[in-house]
Symmetry: C2
Subunit: 241 residues, 2 copies
DNA sequence: ACATCATGCGTACAGTGTTCGCATCGAAAG
DNA sequence: CTTTCGATGCGAACACTGTACGCATGATGT
């Protein structure tokens, strides 16, 4: 053995010369989204995320200031998914807004863990993707002919509806995902408890028992479309008095 | 010293004979709400709650199965706050629904930490107070004349709007509360960053800068009322074709 | 007087986000 | 080619968290 070999760290104990590319913020965000989609929000820990990326947990803090900031980045990244139609002519504004709302709902259902953060997007979180989306949506209301002092309120109304229904759906889907069953199985399994709980409130039972054999996903789609149409009806009435 | 005194625990070290009333689930829930209102959701820990009640943290588990269950109880307790008009005649249904929606929003703004849980109320959390509220609200839609197969959808639309806007407002108010400033101070302080962020999206700046001198709380009230009127317009249109 | 049972609580465990200081690297500078 | 230096990875540690377990103690029923 030559003497130039250090005694404290042999070739075998010493870790391999780093072949990994440097960790980047983009990799961390992308892997966090994958983990969140797969296991839900309460399974996201810095250590687990680090393991998935083949690094130590504390290494992440070189690229991200805190877990809260990571979540901010993750949320804005997801906001980059829907493509919002930009150029609109005034006649087709309703179709354009319907499409945007539908995309936003789909985005939330793909990533149900985002729902509780949704309300914060706007003044609290002002990431570039969220801003781009808001700006494009506002342009649709402008093209529709809303006066300048009403555009914001009209868009806010639409967004409140979308956030509200998507939040409710996402919470419901997250729960089902944790149970490991399909949506139909879960609904069927809950029915006895639901009937018991609604014994004193028969009104609440009427609507749901009528649709007992309809596919639950179909019901949710219909409900979303119904409410969206009502909201847009109410907004349209302001344009043509 | 008489020999009947135990050496391990003298009269002085031994805790006083318990004079406290027994802990009850109601006390725990009430104190949890007080703590949540005062310090926010991430400051609620079982140990802190126990200290406030003058007991050890683990004692709470005799009355509550887990922290999650405690939160379920807390949420339903808050749902008991708004009083929803029960008897309605068909002509005043709009006033009744407006009142209910306003009460629900006020409830959320009193307890902003409840917002992320709001979406779960319905199928996920089925506490007695939440059921009572839902049933009463549904009765208002029934009295309005909605057909049986549309009542649920109509109420869902209204609830989605209320949940959405209340969630957004609550997130915003929670953030301000944590900053320690008043709403007006906070808005003024954020303006430079907001202008910077909206440099590439001038549309987003137009609406907010027009109202720069209006009291922000007034703006929020107006926005809520505007959207609520639009939603109710859209729903009303289904009744009188 | 004794047995039974619900309740309070000290201890402990696995897990969290985050800080700190040290080791190691790639690239720039002499 | 050598030396320096800032950026990066990471092991150890800290203050916390929710909660399971077992023991002590109180009130209650016989």
């Amino acid at each position: 053995m030559p003497a130039d070999e250090k005694p404290t760290a042999s070739v075998w104990t010493r870790p391999r010369p780093r072949q990994r590319e440097h960790l980047t913020r983009e990799q961390i965000v992308a892997e966090a989204i994958r983990l969140l989609d797969a296991e839900g929000v309460e399974e996201l820990s810095m250590r687990k995320l680090g393991t998935r990326l083949g690094t130590a947990a504390t290494s992440l803090y070189r690229h991200v200031a805190s877990k809260d900031e990571l979540i901010e980045l993750v949320v804005d990244d997801v906001y980059g998914e829907p493509d919002v139609p930009t150029a609109v002519d005034g006649t087709r504004w309703r179709a354009a807004v319907t499409r945007t709302a539908t995309e936003l709902r789909a985005m939330t259902l793909r990533h149900p863990w985002i729902a509780p953060e949704l309300g914060q997007v706007g003044l609290v979180h002002i990431g570039p993707n969220a801003m781009r989306m808001s700006s494009a949506l506002l342009a649709q209301f402008e093209a529709a002919g809303f006066p300048a002092d009403e555009m914001d309120q009209a868009m806010g109304t639409l967004m409140a509806y979308v956030i509200g229904i998507a939040t409710a759906e996402a919470a419901y889907l997250s729960l089902i995902a944790r149970s490991g069953k399909t949506e139909q199985e879960w609904v069927a399994g809950l029915r006895p408890a639901f009937d018991e709980a609604t014994r004193e409130h028969p009104r609440l039972r009427a609507g749901s028992s009528a649709q007992q054999d309809v596919h639950p996903q179909r019901i949710r789609d219909d409900n979303f479309a119904y409410g969206l149409d009502r909201v847009l009806d109410g907004l349209t009435a302001r344009l043509t008095p």
